[in-house]
Symmetry: C2
Subunit: 337 residues, 2 copies
Amino acid sequence: MNRVTPGRRPTLENVAARAGVSRATVSRVVNGMPVNASSQEAVRKAIDELGYVPNHAARTLVTQRTELIALVLPEPTTRVFSEDQFFPGVIHGVSQELETADKQLVLMLAGSPRSRTRIERSVAAHHVDGVILASLHGTDPLPAALTRTGIPVVCNERTLGSTPLPCVGVDNAGGAATAVQHLLDAGRTRIATIAGPQDMIGGIDRLAGYRDALRDSSRRSIVAVGDFTKDSGEAAMRQLLADDPGLDAVFVASDLMADGALHALRVAGRRVPDDVAVIGFDDIALARYTDPPLTTVRQPITEIGRQLARQLLRLVAGEDIDPTMTLPTELIIRESA
Amino acid sequence: MNRVTPGRRPTLENVAARAGVSRATVSRVVNGMPVNASSQEAVRKAIDELGYVPNHAARTLVTQRTELIALVLPEPTTRVFSEDQFFPGVIHGVSQELETADKQLVLMLAGSPRSRTRIERSVAAHHVDGVILASLHGTDPLPAALTRTGIPVVCNERTLGSTPLPCVGVDNAGGAATAVQHLLDAGRTRIATIAGPQDMIGGIDRLAGYRDALRDSSRRSIVAVGDFTKDSGEAAMRQLLADDPGLDAVFVASDLMADGALHALRVAGRRVPDDVAVIGFDDIALARYTDPPLTTVRQPITEIGRQLARQLLRLVAGEDIDPTMTLPTELIIRESA
DNA sequence: AAACTCACTAAGAGCGCTCTCAGAAGCGGG
DNA sequence: CCCGCTTCTGAGAGCGCTCTTAGTGAGTTT
């Protein structure tokens, strides 16, 4: 029975019959392996006429490759759907790179415990060839669980937990230090910081960079902690002003918090940058529109996504990679400092 | 050979051998069909001990279902990675709904022509069970191409082209009319609008709603057109002020454009809402932070995503659905009008 | 006690593809 | 003119699962 059953998609078998060759030959043509020109032609013709498209599941079953890459996002964090555009940027970079490799992107939001179980099951079932993990908190058990499945995993920012994972991050400490140095160079003397959450690499390292730069200059550190949201930045700024009304600069660990800080400063009657200089971190779209436009440390978000995908693809292909990759940041000078 | 080959994942066969039953029985247990309690127990035990996870590809091959749903986003539009948070919201809703149905989300960005071909091929290969199409421009050939594959497709906003597609949208015209009515009720007499692009449903219908409401009140319409971006809103506002310096209200077809308009008004020395009242559309996060906070027409973005997924799942399950679904909007009154 | 029903389970045939392996065909050299 | 060599092609065996079709044994009826 090699007739094309109506209502059913044509198979390799049908194409082979129509072209007068064997299944194997059709398979070779489809996969670009060397085949006699005349059969090649016959097969192509048959494929066109039949509108044949290879069945993905059947291919996966034998090759053991799904051509699917999962991007796992920890949904409940403030970042996923916040204004900072971090995840859209990463998605953009990842999907660019996957496109050139002809893989598809499966988006998995790790919100509820239920969804985490689902993700683990799905990965264990070899539903995907590899996993990109984004911005997990230190205590998260997901990396360990996924590593156990044997599927390649990469992560943005190094993991805080005990499971070491290949990762690509940005030079948080270096970027922060550059920002603080810029403030020092401008003659600022009482430089505070609004740090991010201390259970995330970004929060920790940016604070460390701030401290490093200040220590070198033997000035006192003045620290408040936020959670990367605008509101928390505003609150932290008020706190700092209360603690040290004489501060003349503040390095803020995220642009969103910096926006909040600018607000608090305005309310407190301080002029930016005249009275207080402000530098943010991230260079999100908003940074160009704050009042005044925000001087900030840019992190190459799309590039992070791209490299994440590239590293993972290497792993999937069985190549060795350098387990840590750090991308440079860049100080973007606008008007707030 | 029913031994578990090392380095290879256990199969149904292995589980069956270990539990002392047939493959079919294991399959029944896995799929929750009625099975004798004792064999059930034995099978569960064997599954646990072996760490068995069903092979997805094999199952797909026979059931013809992939449990995958594609979300196709037209990448080059201004919206995908802009600040308006539309797509993140839709993704959120979609993935919520897919989670309850135990399906996975495949994200496809339709940017380059190459990527569109890839999407078509992928869908034609039955790589996914259904497709959600978001915000396509009227001239896009993708809906027609996808419909041809026989895979269920739903779309947000009705399509402008010739291919009618099941869709879920919001009451753009109604929302716009409500906003304009609110301005009329407040005694405004010269009400302008900044419309969105006229090749997108949102742009067209919101303008239509504005016109409807104004026609009923027999006032003149004053129209400028933007492209949903902040900059275009600012430019359009300047244009309107030049055209009719006496206007006392403006309905803007998106919050992002409204933010730009507020800026232009401030620069022109008009007070909001005293001199000019402003109403936006969307109710994005930013709307609460503009100066003054923006009165706007909220569209239930997450709910759109949820309903999109729900409609598609019905289609995939072979059920009939009402091809058009319109969700209500809500006027959120803040300080700009 | 024999016949018959009923609830399960076992066996086996695919699903559509890849890939190994052996055989066919083409080709120059002895 | 035949043999060994290379290059292609075809047949067939799976990949791991579902689902239909028989078949088994226990329980019920007459």
